[in-house]
């Protein structure tokens, strides 16, 4: 047991100092019936090389995305992560630090969070951002609750273009609430939400690019929402798109929530990811999660601390804005380092590359017999309709070593209209030969 530092002799010494006959005496508060009253049917400790071999064997049973052509998106995206990012986040002082409760010896984490908040505010075009949330989906649910607190109204409209998992999380957080209106998915891209706003509406939630890849008109949505005193919550699942698309803040968004995974964070089978949340400054005190702020120390030097904690559960308990008591610190660090490496020039180039490859993909797909591309607009993701059930098509392509996208039916199993729809994404990592392999295989499968 290489992680435990005591020898038997030291343990005996320590028990002597405590004045306990044995370690069981330290568990005297545990009812007898419950203390070591069982044998665990689990393996005993194992040397490092055997544990590593076991984990490697499990990993090898998975088809890693880098092993072949890959077009899977729908809320998580495969981008290149510079080697510097992963190297830096593994430095001990980042990796094994805790919540910066003692700011004098946590300035690294705190300054990083301040820089991260600045970066998020800039790319979303908003006044302020927090120090990250669990992910985009839970962030969306928190944004809905936040909008209700701000407006003191209850009705919330979720666009049909919102990622179905995000919709489900909001529904779980607002269980059985009749004031939550979930509009039907709209694969063809028509907006349906604006006519439904009324004076009781707290917020409308619009994703752009939406679940099917269509870009949504945020300016029109903001104007329509504001006319009724409602807030516009904008959800972005592909944060790279903000390198090319107008910032939601410049178009009138009140709260912006993004999944930040695309920058600096690997796919990881769905987690850990990081939620970005930004808002107008008048709403700061209703914002959930951690905030880092600038201040001075006793010598007058600039320093950083966690701040406005009177919103938080450890102070306000049942009156807190949220029960959240953590953030995605290390993922935020990865995001911030990658974003610092990109800078404005790199971020814009990355977004252009994604869009350029997506155009090639869309044009190639449109040329395949039996395939129609539904999108007139898109960033790096699009939806196609084929003549066969999408799950069967995707499975057949997987057998050929091509991970071809997500059947919409996987996320919307009860919707017969989406049975033949596949959502595909291209990123900077998509090559022309990947696209050629996909279209050739797709032609075969659809023939």
């Amino acid at each position: 047991m290489r992680y435990l530092p005591h020898s038997a002799h030291e343990r005996a010494d320590m028990l002597g100092t405590i004045g306990a006959a044995n370690v069981e005496a330290l568990f005297s508060a545990v009812p007898n019936s419950a203390l070591k009253s069982f044998t665990l049917d689990l393996p005993a400790h194992s040397p490092e090389f055997l544990v590593e071999a076991h984990m490697r064997a499990l990993a090898n049973k998975n088809h890693a995305a880098g092993n072949g052509p890959f077009f899977v998106g729908a809320g998580a995206y495969r981008h290149h992560i510079p080697a510097t990012v992963d190297h830096l986040i593994q430095r001990s002082e980042w990796l094994t630090a805790y919540t910066p409760y003692q700011p004098e010896i946590s300035q690294g984490t705190l300054q990083m969070l301040f820089e991260f908040q600045t970066q998020v505010a800039k790319i979303t075009g908003m006044d302020v951002a927090n120090a990250s949330l669990y992910d985009g989906s839970t962030g969306t649910a928190e944004a809905v609750l936040m909008a209700r607190r701000i407006t003191r109204k209850n009705r919330v409209l979720l666009s049909g273009g919102l990622h179905p998992h995000y919709r489900d999380v909001v529904k779980a957080y607002l269980k059985d609430d009749p004031d939550l209106v979930c509009l039907s998915p709209s694969p063809e891209g028509q907006g349906d939400i604006l006519e439904q706003i009324d004076g009781n509406t707290a917020a409308i939630v619009i994703q752009t690019p939406d679940f099917y890849g269509h870009l949504r008109n945020l300016k029109a949505a903001a104007d329509a929402a504001h006319a009724f005193g409602a807030l516009l919550i904008v959800v972005v699942t592909e944060v790279v798109s903000l390198g090319l698309l107008e910032a939601p803040g410049a178009l009138g968004a009140d709260i912006v929530v993004c999944e930040g995974q695309s920058i600096g964070n690997a796919l990881n089978f769905g987690g850990p990811y990081l939620g970005l949340m930004a808002c107008k400054k008048e709403y700061i005190r209703q914002m959930p999660g951690r905030l880092c702020g600038e201040t001075v120390d006793a010598d007058g030097n600039r320093g950083f601390v966690l701040t406005l904690s009177t919103r938080e559960q450890h102070i306000r308990r049942e009156k807190a804005t949220s029960n959240i008591c953590t953030n995605s610190g290390l993922c935020a660090l990865a995001f911030s380092i990658h974003m610092a490496l990109l800078g404005e020039a790199g971020f814009v180039r990355l977004a252009r590359l994604n869009h350029a490859n997506a155009i090639k993909l869309a044009d190639a797909l449109a040329s395949v017999t039996g395939v129609s591309v539904l999108n007139k607009t898109f960033f790096n993701e699009m939806t196609i309709r084929t003549g066969k059930p999408a799950d069967q098509v995707v499975e057949a392509l997987a057998r050929k070593g091509i991970l071809a996208g997500v059947p919409a039916s996987r996320l919307l199993p009860n919707d017969p209209d989406v049975e033949n729809l596949i959502i595909l994404a291209a990123t900077e990592l998509t090559t022309e030969s990947d696209i050629a392999a996909l279209t050739a295989a797709l032609s075969e499968v659809l023939a």
Binding site: R2, Y3, L4, P5, M14, T17, S33, L40, L42, H45, S46, E48, V51, E52, M55, K61, N62, H63, A64, G66, D86, R91, E93, T96, A97, Y98, T99, P100, Q102, G108, F114, T118, A121, K122, S137, H165, A247, F269, G271, R290, G293, T295, G300, R302, T307, E312, Q313, G329, L330, C331, A340, L342, G343, E344, F347, L350, R352, I359, L403, V406
Partner: protein, 514 residues
């Protein structure tokens, strides 16, 4: 004009003039003060897009986003990192937070492309190893807790709490008992407990603790009424004590038709030694990132799977793994499932890999030994310091953390906060202060199992020396602390009163006469 807090205009680097910088620990300017919009540390081709499909939604405003070249970024983040205390650089006796050794094998396995480079929505047939891993982790968690089901997906402890309480609510709704709208929460609970209950619309009813620091079953019985839905109890509790009447409390709650939510934040004290299922819990979250060692990363990410009793198992959310004809299946939808989903995708896979790696390394025997050593270490610290520090609840052995209060500082002019800051100058991260709230001037110390006797002795020597010095009247050593940290005491009131939450570009400064 925008000025920074040193009275210098922002946008001017502070490294060369920062008074508190020293040769090997210089002040580090903000990245916006060293980078600019032209610099980039990533080589990407600049493609021409002639037939764009953005539909007129192109960005017209500038981002004003600073970039760094690769060597600049390397230095910036290495220098910043050195301003952090971390478990790899020193002891972190932060009570209620479990900062223990983070094995690098965990990092290595989590980065295997078969785990890190797989997409949550790629075909299930291509991720059988990932499902096997989730299944194996579930088996470990259910076996260690003796429970019927586990929901892996919550993203953190507080998220797990939320899910556990949602399951309780769903179970009660299914029984037609939606009138139950009160949750009992002991006063010693984490702040997340009342926040979670309130989040779900419950009224929080506090339960007082006995003078010995534990919850009295009689007080619970008195608080029980027909409208009580559940109790949220932390065990071992936040005073570091195992609740001796936990089985009776569970029975009283169940007899009243309510459920027992256990906050499992402190499971590391009893893993392999006590199974929470044997105590009568209905739901309990487990902080994988504390109990099973995944890195804390400056406060996250975490992972908070919830184990569920048979009564609550039908209310587990999606997704979950089950055996099917074609191998393992990932169940992502259940018709009329009461709870649905609490996060996109399948939860914190990266944490699952780390936790399972840690479990296999320790084995069932090693986890039990780790719990015993954590308890041994906490009792050792308590034994070594109790003659100088006051122990508020001396009746029971402490579990994995030792609780003192600050009554020894009375009339010294030194506050608990001062005392904690003085520890920084001695090279230790301070203990948790002013928590739990039930103890006035609380000082909560959690050494964990990964600290050696030698380190504990040095820590206890320093604590004793500081206590003696405070009592001897040398308040200046404390009120001026820390003296040797990268920053002196920071003004938190100012940060809250005049929030500065992002860097702003300074307005053009008038040029000084040259």
């Amino acid at each position: 004009m925008s000025m920074n807090t040193q009275g210098r205009p922002t946008g001017v680097g502070t490294a060369s003039t920062g008074a508190s910088g020293s040769a090997l620990l210089p002040d580090e300017p903000l990245l916006f003060e060293i980078g600019d919009t032209e610099h980039s540390g990533v080589d990407l081709p600049d493609v021409e897009i002639t037939n764009g499909r953005l539909g007129g939604f192109e960005r017209k405003t500038k981002l004003d986003l600073a970039g760094l070249t690769e060597p600049e970024a390397m230095r910036h983040y290495v220098r910043l990192s050195r301003l952090n205390h971390s478990i790899d650089s020193g002891m972190y006796p932060l009570g209620s937070c479990t900062m223990k050794h983070n094995p690098r094998l965990n990092e290595k396995t989590a980065r295997l492309p078969g785990f890190s480079d797989i997409h949550p929505l790629q075909p299930v047939s291509t991720v059988q190893g990932a499902l096997e891993l989730m299944n194996e982790l579930s088996h470990w968690l259910m076996t260690l807790t003796n429970t019927a089901a586990v929901a892996l997906s919550p993203k953190a402890g507080a998220h797990g709490e939320l899910l556990g309480m949602m399951a309780i609510k769903a179970a009660q709704d299914a029984k037609g008992e939606s009138h139950r709208n009160v949750v009992l929460v002991p006063e010693s609970a984490h702040g997340t407990n009342p926040a979670t209950a309130a989040f779900l619309g419950y009224t929080v009813k506090p339960v007082p603790a006995k003078a010995d620091g534990t919850v009295d079953v009689e007080a619970v019985k008195t608080a029980i009424a027909p409208d009580v839905a559940a109790i949220m109890l932390t065990n071992p509790n936040t005073c570091g004590l195992f609740e001796p009447q936990v089985i009776e409390i569970a029975k009283a709650i169940h007899d009243a038709g309510a459920y027992f939510y256990c906050d499992g934040a402190n499971f590391n004290a009893i893993m392999g030694v006590v199974r929470p299922g044997d105590l009568g819990i209905d739901a309990m979250h487990i902080n994988l990132h504390k109990t099973f060692s995944t890195p804390h990363g400056g406060g996250g990410p975490g992972a908070g799977p919830v184990v569920l009793s048979e009564a609550l198992a039908p209310f587990a959310p999606v997704p979950f793994v089950r055996k099917g004809a074609q191998g393992l299946e990932l169940v992502e939808h259940v018709e009329n499932q009461a709870l649905g989903r609490v996060t996109a995708f399948h939860g914190q896979m990266g944490m699952y890999v780390r936790a399972l790696t840690y479990m296999l390394s320790h084995g069932a025997d090693g986890l039990a030994q780790a719990a015993e050593d954590a308890v041994l270490n906490a009792n050792y610290v308590k034994a070594r310091l109790q003659h100088l520090f006051s122990v508020p609840f001396p009746d029971y052995p402490t579990m994995h953390e030792a609780l003192f209060n600050d009554s020894f500082l009375k009339d010294t002019g030194v506050t608990t906060l001062d005392f904690a800051k003085a520890l920084i100058d001695e090279g230790f991260h301070p203990m948790t202060m002013y928590f739990p709230l039930v103890v006035h001037g609380a000082m909560l110390i959690e050494p964990t199992e990964s600290e050696s006797k030698q380190t504990l002795d040095r820590f206890c020597d320093v604590m004793a020396e500081l206590a003696t010095e405070a009592k001897s009247g040398n308040a200046a050593r404390f009120t001026g602390a820390p003296m040797k940290a990268p920053r002196r005491r920071l003004d938190e009131t100012r940060a809250a009163r005049q929030p500065i939450l992002k860097w702003e570009r300074a307005a053009e400064m008038p040029k000084a006469a040259e």
